[in-house]
């Protein structure tokens, strides 16, 4: 029981991070029907940006308050990563729009390789740590010497994720920008006819995906305290799995998928073998796709129009 609750907490934390990344996959897929293979590396890049900003803010500006430092770091990482997202779309994907279907996919793989190598060369191949911080934990309950703990870090991660998802949901559902995104997703040609700048809307979609990845990157750094150039791959694949599991194209699906993958991974590690946790996550995906080919919240292909 104690172990279960503890793993539940850990799983939801990890799942929050996956969910934030998964949204970037699902939104880009929704609007241009492309899997952005570079998204995991954008996430990794954002964690490096957060790391540098953190060192800058604490060491150079001498800001002592962790809370203020974290907020500055997160917003700064969101802005800088967005700029990367925007640039990559402009340079690697937009010129290929209207070309054959696989072209942007191949380009995305290229961008992925470029980003991880770029970070490796410029930042070195070793793990980069940040000084440990926010180490407090709340002990929820204790039995037979096993304490179920909820750390401040986990609270910060879950709260930040929840707040950002709420803001993001509001933007997509209620603002003209969100409506334009949904319109482009549903009928790009008609969206242009009513005066929507489709290219700009696609750019902004990449920007939004990248900024949520930056939140995930900042939280990842806070949680694990280290990041390396290779850290884009595994979380990227997991988040992609989450997006497909939840139903690619569906925003609530991405979050749900993220949480499920996070939970499966941590619970499996606790009760079975930690080596096979990835196998468990991917097997779950396979099983779900057999019974629900378009994912848990995805919509089936046929639709009355």
């Amino acid at each position: 029981m104690e172990v279960f609750v503890q793993q539940l907490i850990n799983g939801l934390t990890l799942g929050s991070i996956y969910g934030l990344i998964a949204i970037g996959y699902t939104m880009v897929f929704g609007i241009i029907g492309m899997i952005n293979f570079a998204h995991g590396d954008v996430f990794m890049l954002s964690a490096f940006i957060a790391l540098m900003l953190f060192l800058f803010v604490t060491a150079w500006l001498g800001i002592g308050s962790i809370a203020i430092a974290l907020i500055i770091v997160m917003i700064g990482a969101m802005l800088l990563t967005s700029l990367w997202g925007w640039t990559l779309e402009r340079m690697a994907y937009r010129p290929l729009r209207g070309s054959f279907r696989l072209a942007p996919l191949i380009s995305a793989i290229g961008v992925s390789i470029f980003l991880s190598n770029f970070v490796q060369v410029s930042q070195g191949a070793r793990n980069k740590p940040i000084p440990p911080m926010v180490r407090d934990v709340i002990v929820l309950f204790e039995r037979d010497g096993y304490a179920v703990a909820l750390s401040y870090k986990q609270i910060i991660i879950m709260l930040t994720t929840a707040v950002l998802l709420a803001i993001f949901w509001y933007v997509v559902q209620k603002t003209p920008l969100g409506r334009a995104q949904r319109a482009c997703e549903q009928d790009r040609r008609m969206a242009a006819l009513v005066g929507i700048d489709v290219d700009r809307t696609i750019s902004l979609t990449f920007v939004m995906g990248a900024s949520l990845a930056a939140v995930a990157g900042t939280m990842y750094l806070l949680y694990y305290g280290v990041v390396s150039f290779a850290d884009g791959f595994v979380p990227g694949v997991k988040a992609f799995t989450a997006a497909v599991l939840g139903g690619i194209g569906s925003l609530p699906g991405a979050v749900l998928g993220g949480l499920i993958i996070g939970l499966v991974e941590t619970l499996w590690s606790a009760y079975f073998s930690i080596e096979y946790k990835d196998v468990a996550a991917f097997s779950l995906l396979a099983i779900v796709l057999i019974f629900m080919p378009s994912g848990i919240l995805g919509r089936p292909e046929v639709e009355k129009v």
Partner: protein, 256 residues
């Protein structure tokens, strides 16, 4: 059909003014296949102009070519004195042209209300409530269904929504591609009345493509006939209605 001898003299369009929309020598291709073989056409401010033609003649292609999607390979399109031939599609919309396209193209997973909001996108929602009220009065059916998803509307309701969406931007030039398609005769009458009223009361310029040649020619000030990518006949609505070739090809049994 294109025999010049039987062609009526070009209708005397309102003289001395430059047309609001002027299409000159427009050729549009799909790949290597030519769909428009050099179209010349004018729409003057305040007019209702119709174009009739058989299936596959290229009517919808012309409607979309005005918006640059597909883009014409040759020729020029001028709107309100500006060359829009190479202008991006969304910028053309911002000049005050709205289209209810072939196939209606309702955003299926948006509500009726959101679809109407999309129609008003270029106006930044100035006077949105007023315009919403206006189209709801024209199409009371839509008012009852504002929260229904567009994709679940009936065909006729979608058609109404497509027209209403186009009207939400208060366009100076309204392009309608087969507005009567799939509608019950009574609703067709209603829609044609709406078009006439918009034109008479608000001076809205309308360019419409119709299969329903009789109604369209009765409604329109002027009309064009298109055959396989070429304009073969033009004249006032009345002239075309009386033209034996038009009668034979497009009105036989259709004149109710």
């Amino acid at each position: 059909m294109s025999d010049a001898a039987t062609m009526p003299a070009p209708a005397q369009a309102p003289a001395g003014r430059t047309p609001l929309l002027s299409i000159r020598g427009v050729k549009t291709y799909y790949g290597n296949i030519i769909a428009l073989k050099g179209v010349d056409l004018d729409v003057h401010e305040g007019e209702i102009v119709t174009m009739i033609g058989a299936n596959g003649a290229g009517k919808s292609t012309l409607m979309m070519t005005i918006f640059g999607n597909p883009r014409c390979r040759e020729g020029t399109i001028t709107y309100a004195g500006r060359d829009i031939t190479h202008m991006p599609t969304h910028e053309i919309a911002h000049l005050g042209i709205a289209q209810s396209p072939e196939g209606r193209r309702i955003f299926p997973r948006m509500t009726v209300f959101e679809n109407l909001q999309m129609g008003a996108a270029i106006r930044n929602f100035a006077h949105f409530d007023e315009d919403l009220e206006r189209v709801c009065t024209m199409f009371p059916r839509l008012k009852e269904r504002l929260n229904q998803r567009g994709g679940t509307l009936s065909g006729g309701e979608q058609q109404m929504l497509a027209i209403a969406r186009a009207l939400m931007s208060r366009p100076r030039l309204l392009l309608l591609d087969e507005p009567s398609l799939g509608l019950a005769p009574l609703v067709v009458k209603q829609i044609f009345n709406v078009i006439r009223e918009l034109n008479e009361r608000e001076g809205m310029t309308v360019f419409l493509v119709e299969q329903n040649a009789y109604h369209a020619l009765k409604l329109a000030h002027r009309g064009y006939v298109m055959v396989t990518g070429t304009i073969t006949l033009q004249g006032t609505g009345k002239e075309l209605l009386e033209n034996p070739q038009v009668r034979a090809a497009y009105l036989e049994g259709g004149a109710h």
